[in-house]
């Protein structure tokens, strides 16, 4: 083996012979749990938000360019596909926000007990949904 990361995959058996360590079963065979689901969804929403920053930049650049460019961009945002993308973007933002707070709590060494973790996981998802709905209710219905 040439790759340094593979060194950890090799051990010695009781006869001192180098053997390849057994690999744990791969991702697909595990039952999805709230802990693994919230974790991978944090990463997915992070990448999605990264793609969404292109829209953020487009919004600012077109606004700075003047009314012609800005009205075109705003018309795209206001179209049904634009609204759908923005809706997804806001949900990703609020999810990453809420679940990010869980990660910061873990970094501080808090909330590791399984019941706490499951509760905060459900709470994070619920809060993200509530915030997304509240955002769109205010954006579309208020004044």
């Amino acid at each position: 083996m040439k790759d340094v990361r593979e060194a950890l995959m090799v051990g010695r058996n009781s006869e001192g012979k180098l053997v390849r360590r057994p690999l744990s079963p791969h991702l697909q065979v595990y039952k999805p749990q709230i802990s693994s689901a919230t974790s991978i969804f944090h990463r997915i929403t992070g990448v999605a938000l990264g793609a969404g920053t292109v829209l953020f930049t487009l919004w600012l650049v077109s606004a700075a360019a003047g009314d012609d460019a800005f009205s075109v961009v705003q018309a795209i945002f206001a179209s049904w596909i634009g609204l759908l993308v923005l809706f997804g973007f806001t949900f990703a933002l609020f999810y990453h926000f809420c679940n990010g707070i869980r990660h910061l709590a873990w970094d501080a060494g808090k909330g590791f007990e399984l019941p706490d973790m499951h509760r905060s996981g459900r709470l994070g998802i619920a809060a993200a949904i509530v915030l997304t709905v509240a955002f769109w209710a205010i954006a579309l219905l208020v004044g």
């Binding site: 083996m1 060194a7 090799v10 990463r43 992070g46 953020f56 606004a63 800005f70 009205s71």
Partner: protein
């Protein structure tokens, strides 16, 4: 990963080096800390952004310019842009390093993604400044 049944180690790396878990870069904690610090900063800044978006819905160029022209908004938007894009850069770096294994491909992907993020950040910041001083 090759599936040889008689593995052997040909790595020029000491046991001490393996135990310390440090590669040639001898670092890693700074990246971790910077990711946390930007995430803490983004808690208030992203809420400020969400409120701004609601305030600015349907705004025209003039309304955007007068909003960004308020010193508080200029500062907070620039802070948001700096924090957001550096957090994104660090986060995507980790994702790329996790999934893109081959060195050439990984370095190329990192350069393209990080370069693109830097350009987006500059374009956003300059647009805010242009609006603020228009």
């Amino acid at each position: 990963m090759s599936k040889d049944n008689n593995p052997s180690i040909h790595i020029m790396r000491s046991q001490l080096g393996r135990v310390r878990g440090l590669g040639a870069a001898k670092t890693g904690a700074a990246h971790w800390w910077a990711e946390r610090i930007t995430s803490v900063a983004l808690l208030p800044l992203s809420l400020y952004f969400v409120v701004s978006v609601i305030v600015l819905r349907g705004a025209d160029h003039a309304a955007m310019a007068s909003y960004m022209g308020e010193p508080w908004n200029t500062v907070l938007f620039l802070a948001l842009i700096a924090t957001l894009f550096s957090h994104l850069s660090m986060g995507l770096q980790v994702v790329i390093e996790d999934y893109v294994r081959e060195d050439t491909k990984r370095i190329f992907t990192l350069l393209v993604v990080k370069g693109g993020i830097a350009i987006l950040a500059l374009a956003s910041a300059i647009s805010v400044l242009k609006l603020a001083f228009s």
